[in-house]
């Protein structure tokens, strides 16, 4: 699809992490002209798993099987939590559109339902999550039913030991076995990198040689688990080829960042937004913004310097790692526009002395306070500008790492903000939901 670049965009999205990608995708699906500005790398630390909400309240460490029941409880307990402002229908629509778009871009997900799933990690813990890539979904069933299974690893992939997982949970999963194989062509290499392995396994030759090494080890295994290296851009095909050749379900186990599923997610989302006509300016930084009837953003990193104008702006710049928030020695500030940041009274209150404090760390709940439409508020309690929205982890009042709600926060808030933008711009009601 091509389109002429409008002089004034309907939406300018600042940020290329999960929330920025979701906002761009949803805006484009609405037929809004969308410019996405980002400096890249926002998804490199993603695991590929899409959490909605699994823990509430954090201090009570209460786990929920049904994320929508958890959302209902959250709305009752913490009405200022950003997710409390997202209704179930919006949340479901957000995940539906998002996973459908990812599937079309080569990263299929199991259809989202009403249940959280438990996914085995490389530490032998069971991570509660919601959206599970197809390449991992057989592992959810295997973990629940615990039939005889085989876990494979490759010598040289330093962060992943199948022996570690079996040692950690083997007493509760008696039929779980492990085996280590040499990665084809890497027999004289001390270190392997997951992304290189993933690309190599897209070649039929590497795949055949790997499968030939695994097949004799199958025994009574009902399913086989691998570290998440089964293909990069064509993981669907690689995964299917492994299942067909081995004759049993195959699942990937997420590894630590930078993970292959994170890279897949990044490229699938890029493809999804580009094919929907989003104009992207990567490696650009917004250096200043002026708001009047429209927003005028000044960029650097663009040859010759450039300003762009937009009717609405979505701030999806993330937290400290994403550079949306800046932590000085005493105060947290919003990096781009200097918006007021809701935060603890002093740095002494930012962190608990216990890393794993059940209550979490107060600084993780610092962020932008907004109205019900996710428009950030000035200190007088009024929206900073009628067309300025903030979505994702920059929002105050949430703790996505502890609540296991990172994707839910990104997708839900982006969806709702885009709905409000469409209404503000007079674009007729939501398009038919995909899928």
């Amino acid at each position: 699809m091509t389109q002429t670049q409008p002089k004034t965009w309907d939406v300018a999205v600042v940020g290329a992490g999960m929330a920025g990608m979701a906002a761009s995708l949803f805006a484009a699906e609405r037929g809004l002209s969308c410019l996405q500005i980002g400096n890249g790398g926002g998804l490199l630390f993603a695991s590929g798993l899409l959490d909605l909400l699994a823990v509430h309240p954090v201090a009570g460490r209460r786990l929920w099987d049904n994320p929508f029941e958890a959302l209902a409880m959250l709305r009752r307990d913490q009405p200022d939590h950003p997710l409390a402002r997202v209704d179930d229908a919006t949340m479901r629509a957000a995940f539906q559109s998002f996973t459908t778009a990812l599937g079309a871009a080569g990263m299929p997900y199991a259809p989202p339902g009403d249940r959280n799933a438990n996914v085995l990690t490389s530490l032998g813990t069971a991570k509660p999550t919601y959206g599970v890539p197809r390449t991992m979904s057989a592992g959810v069933g295997a973990l629940a039913g615990r039939p005889p299974c085989l876990l494979l690893d490759f010598r040289g992939l330093r962060e992943f030991s199948a022996r570690q997982i079996v040692a950690t949970i083997g007493d509760r999963w008696p039929g779980l076995r492990m085996a280590r194989v040499e990665f084809p062509g890497a027999e004289t290499t001390a270190e392997l990198y997951a992304a290189h392995m993933a690309v190599a396994l897209e070649s039929g030759d590497f795949r055949e040689r790997t499968i030939a090494r695994v097949r004799p080890l199958l025994g009574d295994a009902h399913a086989v688990g691998f570290p998440a290296v089964l293909g990069l851009a064509r993981s669907g095909a690689v995964h299917a080829a492994f299942e067909e050749a081995l004759g049993v379900p195959v699942f990937e186990i997420p590894t630590m960042p930078t993970s292959v599923p994170g890279l897949r997610l990044n490229s699938a989302l890029e493809q999804a937004v580009v094919t929907r006509g989003v104009h992207r300016m990567l490696r650009a930084n917004v250096t200043s913004a002026a708001f009047d009837g429209t927003a005028v953003l000044t960029l650097d990193g663009v040859p010759g310097g450039e300003t762009v104008s937009a009717r609405t702006v979505v701030l999806a710049t993330g937290r400290f790692t994403g550079r949306g928030l800046t932590a000085g020695q005493q105060r947290v500030t919003e990096s781009l526009l200097g918006l007021p940041v809701q935060q603890p009274a002093s740095r002494a209150a930012w962190h608990s002395r216990d890393f794993l404090d059940p209550a979490g760390h107060a600084v993780n709940r610092a962020g932008l306070a907004t109205d019900d439409e996710f428009r950030p508020l000035e200190s007088d309690g009024r929206p900073a500008w009628p067309g300025l929205f903030a979505v994702g982890s920059i929002l105050a009042g949430q703790d996505w790492m502890r609540e296991k709600c990172g994707a839910g926060l990104a997708l839900g808030t982006a969806r709702l903000a885009v709905d409000r933008i469409a209404r503000q711009l007079g674009v007729p009601g939501p398009l038919a939901e995909a899928g």
């Binding site: 630590m256 740095r347 794993l356 790492m401």
Partner: protein, 532 residues
């Protein structure tokens, strides 16, 4: 178990004493409730004092530091980097103190050479443009871990025994003699009794508790000192503030980083010692006039140690050997084979050990002389890995297929971890991830273990060294321990680093949910129970 001398405490003093006694042919056992240098010996600047710090207010201490520094530079040269030190005064500092300094140094026999301020700033650009006077002195840096580990390794090679994670729980006393010391393995809980002719209490800040257990109370005061570790090395020399000793006076070079400190806060309890946000801010404020770059510096960690300060034994005079440290014989409390060795500095640990060994040997009727000032501490392969840059050099030289790089910040490979693990195992220990961290650079780089701790655990499982759920416990313990030193310096880049660490450990692995019914999905699946 029987021995001639039981040493309680495996810090700089206790390990130096084990070495001293072993070199004299005296059999000894050292019990340590945690690990080598777990207390103040591992939580200091790592400064080998020239003595210049003390010239103005404590001539004896200055002379002691000078002579001991010279000895350690010979016998413990592997642990020492002869960096040299600067004393720097800035505008506003006490000019009389500055004027008196060279004379005081001369009186204590310490070389202090005046350096042109512009030249000093050329050599050390971190020094403020407002510097008004600079002197060069023979300060040096010492790696306290390597020093203690090598001292203990030499002692063990001569027959001394080390029992880590072993806590003294009671003394059996008959009349004036301690006839048995009851100790407990803190991991297994197993108890045993050690019979020793002489018992030396070298428990540092915990010496008061130990003495009390022996029925021989000593008075001690505690002073907490906090230090900061910078991201990157700020200077090549030790940089001291040329003023009366006070807060945040010293910046030490330490491999790839610098260490800045310290503070002095009286504390009453040894429980839960950790650096605070206020202390961190105070250190930066105090040191910035001399080192303005600190205002924008990234700090990767802070740590706090407790200095035991001298008091007199309750009720009577003890035998006070030196102003810098004390050796109490407890005879006035009716004990004939128990001594407490306390106070002192890292720089004088060898001398403290010599005095204690002389005294104990006198009681034992052993006449062999002290050799620690002349015998060079031999190299030990398991003690070399605390030094930044050592592991990468070895790895570049030769590494096999089974030697993957586990820590990419500090370049620690699998073979180093294996060597340390094997050396600890050979002593009958169950090594932990934290033990390996103490003896290497694992977890000490900018990522503070976020990646290397997890890789190291995977490696240890793969080698068959870790079993069952131990790895998860170790990772949890390791990050909790690291965090105690991190939380007070988390702003700027380092906060982003901490966020990443939490995203990994909590967001992905869910470590904070361990033990929650329902998180253990295996159990939930088996019993059909799940969400409330």
């Amino acid at each position: 178990m029987e021995t001639q001398v039981l040493i309680i405490g495996g810090g700089a003093t206790g390990t130096a004493l084990a070495r001293d006694l072993a070199l004299r042919g005296v059999d000894c056992v050292l019990v340590e409730r945690d690990d080598i240098n777990a207390g103040a010996s591992g939580r200091n600047h790592g400064l080998l004092h020239s003595g210049a710090r003390y010239v103005s207010n404590d001539h004896e201490a200055a002379v002691e530091c000078r002579t001991e520094g010279e000895i350690l530079k010979r016998v413990a040269f592997r642990s020492i980097q002869d960096t040299g030190g600067y004393f720097v005064a800035v505008a506003g500092d006490d000019e009389k103190y500055v004027a008196d300094f060279p004379g005081h140094c001369q009186r204590s026999g310490i070389q202090a050479k005046v350096i042109d301020v512009a030249e000093a700033r050329e050599r050390e650009p971190a020094i403020s443009e407002h510097a008004i006077a600079v002197y060069e002195v023979p300060d040096a840096s010492v790696d306290p871990f390597r020093l203690s580990l090598e001292s203990m390794a030499q002692a063990r090679s001569l027959g001394a025994r080390l029992m880590r994670r072993t806590r003294v729980v009671g003394f059996d006393r008959v009349g004036s003699r301690i006839v048995g010391v009851r100790v407990r393995d803190t991991v297994t809980g197993a108890e045993q009794r050690i019979e020793a002719a002489q018992v030396v209490n070298a428990a540092g800040a915990w010496a008061r508790e130990v003495a009390l257990l022996a029925g021989a109370p000593v008075e001690m005061l505690y002073s907490k000192g906090t230090l900061l570790i910078t991201h990157g090395r700020m200077a090549q020399h030790v940089i001291n503030r040329l003023r009366k000793p006070g807060n945040a006076d010293i910046l030490m070079p330490g491999g790839t980083v610098s260490v800045l400190g310290t503070t002095s806060v009286r504390v009453d309890s040894l429980e839960d010692i950790h650096p605070t946000v206020d202390e961190v801010d105070l250190i930066i404020d105090e040191a910035s006039p001399m080192l303005p770059g600190l205002r924008s510096m990234r700090f990767i960690r802070a740590y706090a140690g407790v200095r035991p300060l001298l008091g007199s034994p309750a009720g009577a005079d003890g035998r006070n050997v030196s102003r810098g440290f004390a050796l109490y014989d407890h005879e006035d409390q009716g004990l004939s084979n128990f001594v407490t060795l306390t106070g002192g500095k890292l720089t004088t640990c060898r001398l403290m050990a010599e005095r204690a060994a002389d005294f104990v040997c006198g009681r034992l009727g052993v006449s062999s002389p002290c050799l620690t000032a002349v015998e060079v501490i031999p190299a030990a392969p398991e003690c070399e890995w605390t030094v930044p840059g050592r592991a990468p050099r070895e790895w570049m030289r030769a590494h096999g297929l089974d030697d993957p790089m586990l820590c990419e910040c500090e370049m620690v490979s699998g073979s180093v971890v294996d060597l340390l693990y094997a050396s600890l195992r050979s002593a009958g220990d169950m090594p932990t991830l934290t033990d390996i961290g103490l003896r290497s650079r694992v977890g000490k780089g900018a990522c503070q273990g976020a990646f290397c701790a997890i890789r190291t655990v995977a490696h240890l499982y793969q080698r068959g060294d870790f079993q069952a759920r131990r790895g998860l416990d170790e990772i949890t313990d390791f990050f909790r321990e690291r965090w105690r030193g991190q939380h007070a310096v988390l702003w700027g880049e380092q906060l982003a680093q901490a966020e990443l660490m939490e995203a990994l450990n909590c967001g992905l692995f869910g470590e904070e949910l361990r033990g929650v019914a329902g998180f253990d999905a295996l159990r939930a699946a088996a019993s059909g129970e799940g969400t409330p």
